[in-house]
Structure formats: structure tokens, C-alpha cells
């Protein structure tokens, strides 16, 4: 075959590739503008750029997966010397065989009605019909164990819905690699995953690259992840390649203004020393919210009968007036269930939640409504959290009406005042929220929450739907409002860098438990729990890492909250696990200077306690 004769050092060569979106009336809007690059066999090349820079279009063009209104307007994509654009039939024959693609949404990537194994075999036999079903099955199981899916033989026969997000992404990597492709296009593969799982996938990808000698085109929107993952980073800006360098050189000597701006914009965890935002609140005053041993379980009914999901288990912390308190943890750790308990939307099964000395969990519905004037909630989704049919003014006045505050004219005035405070223009008072951007919508949400002049604002992932710049602006707004009104904030978030920027004290949750509560500088510079170290090691940042993922995180996934192990929930992934951890669950214990951690490695408090316990004795 002529293909085999082309044995030079370039696997993929993109030459002057231009792609445009066809608008109404045939007008062409350029998406990619004369992109050129080469990819050598076994090389990992990251492509980075903000949303709209054309990264995904580039990935899809190479995978021969462009659909209307996108059209190639020029250039060529040479794979082993043959132009894929000129020969669509040849390109189709390569799809899934020589050129594999893994996308960013593993959840819907396989047919829900067929087992994962059957679909892996089906794919392999579709692109390599000469392989027998038995061989294909062996290979699939071998690869499933290679990507560290536990009990691969059994998992082979399970359905996609029985896989977690991280496992599904591993299965999709197997799906891509099973045909021994020469090129793997990884389009945002870590985006939907939790940071610790994403770190495991990246590590895995590098190992597989060494083992299977596959070249990887790694598309990504986070510069730290891109730098971690690859041999070289190519920066895409407005459809053009602005520079391409090895990661270390890119970070230290960025050649283009856009790259410099990108690097400067990144928040840091450790740079600038341990001093964080800490006003050193007077801890002798009464806590505004005191959470003590709170737990909540939900009943689910599955094929195997009824089961209890232990969403929140024994959560304990205090929040002091004027503080910024952070609650961090990965998806499924019980953050949102905890939020529902803190706001009185649901009642805890056990424990107490005291707001200014009054038990929220046991208050009567009428009393709870009164209490809610003083603590308000701002939600994550800027779109679903606003009624689309109500005018902005009406949305803002509604809380006042519910609590029967003021006359119509006073309410109107109050709403206008709050709008100007959060930076919404006064002339949108009568309009519907339809035309607002995500950032403006979150401002409106904040305005709606603060119109009652609450004392405590609970922010449940309020900023995670916004981009970096908009996040910064809203954080400034929060700070200004805090200075003016003396709000106390609880930030519930999965984003360590955001929490590092704004919070003075932070609780880390893992599988429904608070595993560590500590002031910001202690948590980031001297974490007391191995899980906190794992979170920090996986946080996307360009700084020299204080904690390396290789040292801090074992393979594996969090256990299911239905079927919890008897000992410490983190034991299955903890590098410093002991036999005691597997048998006995450690409780939160103080490790001095206002820090608590639930780990047996923390020295016994009766020996080292140099300070009175900050937390009420549990």
C-alpha cells in the first residue's frame, strides 16, 4: 500500500486550513483562518483557546465531522500524506480506525440500551472486521483494565448508566484506543469531570501515549491542564494560531500578547505567600450560623430494592459574622444537599443548624419564613433561577411582597436602589430577564436576595456558570456589598482557586462529611487531611505545585454514598491509608490554630492542643 511508503516524521499535517460558518444568504463568517501545524507520531499537542476560538471546529474538521453550517473554505488536512478533505471516502474509512475521537460529554456517548462491552466489540469489529468477536472481547477487557476500571471483566457486561462520569470517560478512551489508532483527538475530555478524576485521566492518557504510541491532539480550554497534559501547546485565538511552544517555555516566555493576558488572568493558589483573605474575625462572638453534627439521607428505590443515599453525614462548622466561609468538594459530596438543609428547604435527620441561636431544622414553617428574611440563597443556574415571564422590577419586589414590607411606592424605590447597587441599569426595570447576559442575571439574583437586607447570603456555585472576567467583577461586587451592609457569605463551590481568593475559612467535604475545616492559609499551605492535599494537587494552576498528584492521589473513584465502607470514606484513594482507616471512621479533631481535620494522621489533640477548641465540643 502506498500509505506505508510515506514514512516521514509527520503523521498529521494541517496546511492553511480555513473553515467558515455559512450565515443567511450565503454570507461566510470565518471560524478558522489559515491554520497550519504538524503533528509527529507519538507527540501530544495541546490546542488551547477561549470558547469561540475555533478549537472544537478544528478537532471536528480533522475527525471529518463538520456539519452545516460549517464548511471548509481552503487548505488541506494531510494524514500520512493524503488529504482527507479531498477524499471524503478515504477519510471515512479512517474514522474510528486510524483517527479516533473522544469528546467532552461521556454521559451520552454510548447507546444506553446496550452494554458497554458489546458496544466496544461492535466498534472494533466495525472498523476491523477481520477480528473475531472473542478476540475483540479479550482486547476490550484488557484495555478496560489498562485504564484502571476495577473488575473489568464484570464491568464489560454493564450498561453505560451503571458507570460513573469518570469511568465512562475511561471507557470512551478505551473505545478510541481499541482499534490502535495513529491519532487520538481528545476534545475537552476533562471538562465535565471533577478535578481529582480529571487529574487521574490526564495521568492515564500520558501513560497510554507511551504504551500505545498514539499521537494525541489535546483540545482544552484551561491553560494549566493543557500545560500539564502535553509536549507542546498551541494557542488559538480568533481562529488563528498565535503561538506554539513547549509548556515550560510558554509559561515563562509567552510570545504573544493574548497568551500573556491569558496567563496573567489566572488566579493563583500559593503565589503571594500564605496570607489570604482573613480579617481575623473575632471568634469570641457568637457564630451567626452554627452547624453541628448534621446528617441527611434520601431513600431511593432501585432494581435491588430500597436503598439509603447518605448525602450528608455528620457535618460540623461555625460561620462567624462578617466572614467569608467556603464549602468545597467535588460533585456528589453533598454540598447541595447541605445547602438545602442550611436554608431550611429540607429538615435534617439529625443534628442542629443554629442561625443566630435559633434551630432552623426544627422551626415551624411560619417562623422559617420569617427567619429567611435574614438568610438568603443565590443559586448556580443563571437561567433556570429567574421566572422568564416576570419583569425585572416585579422579580425584585416579590420578596418584599411575600414578607409584606412597605407600600407599592416604597417597594418600587427599594427595587431601583438595589438595582443600582448591583450595577444593573435602571431602564430595564420594566423589561423581562430574557435579554440579560449570564453575569447580569447573577447580579439580578444577588439583588433579589439582598433586597430583604439579610445578614447571611448563601452562594451555591453562584459563579461557576460565568467566565473568569465576569467572575472577577462579581467578586468585587460581593466585597463592596459586604463592606456596605456587613453581609456574611457562605460560598459553596468546587473551585479551589475561587475559594482561595475570597474565603477566609473553608470546610472541605468528601462523601457527605466535613473532612477538614481550616483558615484559608492553613488549608492551602498546611492541609490536615489527605483528601485536601489530593484536591490541591489536582487543582488547575500554572504555579510550581506544592503537592504532586502522583504523591497525593491513588487510582479509583469515590465509593457510592449508598454503599459506604465501614472506615474512612477516603481510605480507598488515600496514599497514607492504614489498617485502622479501613475499620474506623475518624471524627473531626482539632490540630491547633482554628483548624480541624478528620484523619488519624492528625496528632492526638490531647497531646498537641495549644489552644482552646474553636468548635463546640462534639
Amino acid at each position: 500500500m502506498s500509505l506505508d511508503m510515506v514514512r516521514n516524521e509527520v503523521l498529521l499535517s494541517v496546511r492553511d486550513l480555513s473553515v467558515a460558518a455559512e450565515g443567511e444568504g450565503g454570507a461566510l463568517r470565518p471560524i478558522l483562518d489559515r491554520i497550519s501545524f504538524d503533528l509527529a507520531p507519538r507527540q501530544i499537542l495541546s490546542v488551547i483557546g477561549e470558547s469561540g476560538s475555533g478549537k472544537t471546529v478544528l478537532a471536528r474538521t480533522i475527525a471529518s465531522w463538520l456539519s452545516a453550517p460549517l464548511t471548509v473554505t481552503g487548505g488541506e488536512v494531510l494524514f500520512r500524506g493524503r488529504d482527507l478533505l479531498a477524499d471524503p471516502a478515504h477519510a471515512r474509512s479512517l474514522a474510528g480506525r486510524e483517527i479516533a475521537y473522544v469528546g467532552g460529554n461521556p454521559a451520552g456517548a454510548l447507546d444506553p440500551t446496550m452494554t458497554v462491552g458489546a458496544q466496544l466489540v461492535e466498534k472494533l469489529r466495525a472498523v476491523r472486521p477481520e477480528i473475531t468477536p472473542a478476540e475483540a472481547k479479550d482486547k476490550a477487557i484488557r484495555l478496560l483494565s489498562a485504564v484502571r476500571i476495577p473488575a473489568a471483566e464484570r464491568r464489560f457486561h454493564e450498561y453505560p448508566f451503571q458507570y460513573s462520569g469518570g469511568m465512562m470517560q475511561r471507557a470512551m478512551i478505551v473505545d478510541a484506543l481499541i482499534s490502535d489508532p495513529a491519532l487520538l483527538i481528545a476534545d475537552n475530555i476533562t471538562q465535565p469531570l471533577d478535578v481529582t478524576v480529571a487529574a487521574q485521566i490526564l495521568k492515564l492518557m500520558r501513560e497510554l501515549n507511551a504504551e500505545f504510541s498514539t499521537a494525541i491532539l489535546f483540545i482544552c480550554s484551561s491553560l494549566p491542564v493543557a500545560c500539564d497534559a502535553s509536549d507542546e501547546v498551541m494557542v488559538l485565538h480568533q481562529g488563528r494560531v498565535v503561538e506554539r511552544q513547549a509548556p515550560a517555555a510558554l509559561v515563562t516566555r509567552p510570545g504573544h500578547g493574548y497568551t500573556r493576558a491569558l496567563i496573567a488572568e489566572l488566579p493563583t493558589l500559593w503565589q503571594g505567600g500564605p496570607e489570604g483573605r482573613d480579617e481575623r474575625q473575632k471568634r469570641d462572638q457568637r457564630a451567626i450560623m452554627s452547624v453541628n453534627g448534621v446528617s441527611k439521607a434520601y431513600e431511593t428505590r432501585g432494581k435491588s430494592g430500597k436503598a439509603l443515599v447518605q448525602a450528608v453525614r455528620d457535618v460540623t462548622f461555625d460561620v462567624f459574622p462578617g466572614d467569608n466561609f467556603g464549602i468545597v468538594g467535588e460533585s456528589g459530596c453533598g454540598k447541595s444537599s447541605l445547602m438545602r438543609l442550611l436554608t431550611g428547604l429540607e429538615r435534617p435527620d439529625g443534628g442542629t443548624i443554629l442561625f443566630e441561636g435559633e434551630n432552623v431544622g426544627a422551626a415551624s414553617p411560619a417562623r422559617l419564613r420569617e427567619l429567611r428574611r435574614k438568610f438568603q440563597l443565590v443559586l448556580q443556574d443563571p437561567y433556570g433561577s429567574l421566572p422568564p415571564q416576570s419583569a425585572i422590577g416585579a422579580i425584585l419586589e416579590e420578596p418584599l411582597k411575600i414578607h409584606r414590607i412597605g407600600t407599592a411606592a416604597e417597594r418600587r424605590e427599594r427595587a431601583r436602589a438595589v438595582m443600582s447597587e448591583v450595577g444593573l441599569p435602571a431602564d430595564i426595570y420594566e423589561s423581562l430577564p430574557t435579554g440579560l447576559s449570564a453575569g447580569q442575571r447573577q447580579r439580578l439574583n444577588v439583588a433579589r436576595a439582598m433586597i430583604l437586607e439579610p445578614r447571611l447570603l448563601i452562594m451555591d456555585e453562584t459563579l461557576s456558570a460565568l467566565d473568569q472576567t465576569e467572575q472577577g467583577k462579581l467578586l468585587d461586587l460581593f466585597e463592596r456589598l459586604q463592606a456596605q451592609h456587613g453581609f456574611t457569605y457562605i460560598f459553596i463551590s468546587h473551585d479551589m482557586t475561587m475559594v482561595r481568593q475570597v474565603c477566609s475559612r473553608i470546610a472541605v467535604m468528601y462523601l457527605g462529611e466535613t473532612v477538614e475545616v481550616a483558615p484559608s492559609e492553613r488549608l492551602f499551605f498546611e492541609p490536615g487531611h489527605p483528601y485536601t492535599r489530593a484536591l490541591l494537587s489536582a487543582a488547575p494552576t500554572l504555579e510550581p505545585r506544592r503537592y504532586r498528584p502522583e504523591d497525593c492521589l491513588l487510582d479509583g473513584e469515590p465509593p457510592s454514598p449508598i454503599d459506604l465502607p465501614p472506615g474512612c470514606a477516603f481510605a480507598s484513594r488515600c496514599p497514607s491509608v492504614t489498617t485502622r482507616c479501613r475499620a474506623e471512621n475518624p471524627a473531626l479533631r482539632t490540630r491547633g490554630r482554628q483548624a480541624l481535620a478528620a484523619c488519624f494522621l492528625v496528632p492526638d489533640p490531647s497531646v498537641t492542643s495549644d489552644e482552646p477548641m474553636e468548635q463546640s465540643d462534639v
Binding site: W65, G96, G108, D111, A126, F161, A176
Partner: protein
């Protein structure tokens, strides 16, 4: 065994449904005007005799007592005897009032057992015809949403759904039986007599299947795993026949369950027009003759069939899509 638990639960629920249906029918039949004894005994029978027969038959007892007796019989597999039909042949309502051969009247269970197989045969054949007509059109439409095949499927369904079945039945009987002499139409003397009524029924059901399939196929084709299957290297045939069709099957299955139950419950008009000796014809005659035990028996049997078909449909659905819970 979750599946056993599922079966026990559903059968128990089904038994309650059948009980409630029969209680309702039983009560209604005795509340509506029209005395069955008058029909049985004939218009000329003296009032005293009618009262006597009615009392002997227990028809003057309180309804709950009558119902209790009836349920007791049903539990022993006895659906009672027809008021009207003799055991030995076709029947007409009470000819003479001094007919005392009550023991010779037909058992309801026998009447149903004679006619139900004909209706099942008709229903199954209608289903097969309907699927043969509707599946290709529906899938074709679903694969090309908004384009010509989809619009053709929609127009065809609109036409079919607006055709009255009695008109279609008569026209087809005229065309195929009378003019072209291809198929027999009236009565039943063999399998060929099922074809024409089944075809008319199929044309009646087909538009529902077409719409259901084209909507669900179009929905499935828009999903991520279909989109990405091509990039994974699967062929178009694999994508359509192994993945898209299978995923569209669950909503279709639910529809087929409902349609099949309705067919079994008696296709009154079609069986009447074609004089097809199935449950539908039996029902019509029973109603016209106020044959309480027979109406009652048909109601119980069809309600039980509804329940069983629904259980089968749900079981099949969970084997197709394992995410569904029993």
C-alpha cells in the same frame, strides 16, 4: 428475585383493577332501565310470571348480594350462564315465556372461549399488517425530519386517521370481494375471512404507529451517541438498525400494548360490518339482548387481558432498555 416481586405486585394490582371493573359494570347494568326478564320471557308474559322468574334467578335481591354470588362464581371459574343463549346454537331473545329449559342455556365462559380465539387472530393479524405498513414509513420519516419523507408520512397518517373505518370496510369489501372477488368478506369459514377486516383495522392503527415512530426515531437520531457513532467508525446501517431502532422501540411498544388491548376488547364496528364472529360481535348482541351475565363476563375477561398485556409490555420494555425500573 426482583422480577418475581414485580410479577406478584402487578398481578395483585391487576386483580384489584378487574374486581373494580366488574363491580362497576355489575352495578351499572342493574341500574340502567330495561328488565332482562321481560326480554327473556317475551312481551306477552304476565307480570306475575316475570316477577316469579326474576325472584328465582335472584334478580330481585339487593345488588351487593347478587354481586357477592357472582364473585363467588368467578373465583371458581364460573362466569355464569347466558340469560338468552341456549347451549346448543345461535340464539334470539326469549321466544316463549314458558321456556323452562334454563339448564340448557349456554355458559358464558364457553361463549367467550368460542369467540375469543377469532378475535385474537384478528387482532394479531391486524397488528402484523399495521407494522408492515407503518414501520418503514415511520422510520423513513424519522430519519429525514422536516423533509419530504417526514411530510409524506404526516400527510398519509392524516388521511388514514380521518377515514371512518365503517366506510373503509364497506368500500374495501365492495372493491375486493364483490368486484374483484379476491377475498371473502362476510362471516367466517376459514382464515381468509380474517384478512379483510384485519387490513381495515391495520389502516386504522397505522397512523398512530407512524407518528409515534417518526417522532421517536427523529428524537433518537438527534442524540449524542448516534452523532458520535459515525466518528467512532460505525456504518450507517449499524447506527440505524442496531441503535436508533432499538432506542425507538420502547415508546412504540407502549403504544402497541394499548392498541392491542383495544383490539382484544372487541372491535365492535368492524366485527359487526364483516359479521365476524369474535368478541365484538358477541358484545353487541349481548348488549342488545340485555344479556347481563355475558356482558359482565366479557368485561371481566377483557379487563384481565388489559392487565396481562400491560405487564408483558412493561417486562419487554425493561429487557430493551435496562434503565427502566420494574
Amino acid at each position: 428475585m426482583p422480577i418475581l416481586r414485580f410479577l406478584v405486585r402487578r398481578l395483585f394490582q391487576g386483580a384489584i383493577i378487574v374486581f373494580l371493573v366488574s363491580a362497576l359494570i355489575f352495578t351499572l347494568l342493574r341500574i340502567v332501565p330495561g328488565d332482562p326478564v321481560r326480554l327473556m320471557a317475551g312481551g306477552m308474559a304476565p307480570e306475575a310470571l316475570i316477577e316469579q322468574i326474576a325472584t328465582e334467578m335472584g334478580l330481585r335481591d339487593p345488588i351487593y348480594e347478587q354481586f357477592g354470588r357472582y364473585v363467588g362464581g368467578v373465583l371458581q371459574g364460573d362466569l355464569g350462564q347466558s340469560f338468552v343463549r341456549p347451549a346448543n346454537g345461535a340464539a334470539v331473545g326469549g321466544a316463549s315465556f314458558d321456556d323452562s329449559t334454563r339448564s340448557e342455556r349456554a355458559k358464558v365462559l364457553d361463549l367467550i372461549a368460542q369467540t375469543a380465539p377469532k378475535t385474537i387472530q384478528l387482532a394479531l393479524l391486524a397488528m402484523v399488517f399495521a407494522l408492515i405498513i407503518a414501520v418503514p414509513i415511520g422510520v423513513w420519516g424519522g430519519l429525514n425530519p422536516g423533509r419530504l419523507p417526514d411530510r409524506l408520512a404526516l400527510y398519509l397518517s392524516s388521511v388514514l386517521v380521518s377515514l371512518p373505518n365503517f366506510w373503509l370496510g364497506i368500500v374495501l369489501a365492495l372493491l375486493l370481494s364483490v368486484k374483484l372477488n379476491l377475498l371473502p368478506a362476510i362471516g367466517y369459514k376459514g382464515f381468509a375471512y380474517t384478512i379483510l377486516p384485519a387490513f381495515v383495522l391495520a389502516l386504522e392503527i397505522a397512523p398512530f404507529i407512524i407518528r409515534n415512530l417518526s417522532v421517536s426515531v427523529a428524537g433518537v437520531m438527534g442524540q449524542n451517541f448516534i452523532d458520535i457513532a459515525r466518528v467512532r467508525g460505525l456504518t450507517r446501517n449499524q447506527i440505524i438498525f442496531r441503535h436508533a431502532m432499538k432506542n425507538s422501540a420502547v415508546p412504540l411498544l407502549n403504544l402497541l400494548g394499548v392498541q392491542f388491548s383495544m383490539l382484544l376488547g372487541g372491535v365492535l364496528v368492524i366485527e359487526f360490518i364483516f359479521d365476524y364472529p369474535g368478541l365484538g360481535l358477541l358484545t353487541i348482541n349481548a348488549v342488545m339482548q340485555r344479556d347481563f351475565p355475558l356482558i359482565q363476563g366479557i368485561a371481566v375477561v377483557t379487563a384481565a387481558a388489559f392487565v396481562l398485556i400491560n405487564i408483558v409490555v412493561d417486562l419487554l420494555a425493561t429487557t430493551i432498555d435496562p434503565r427502566l425500573d420494574y
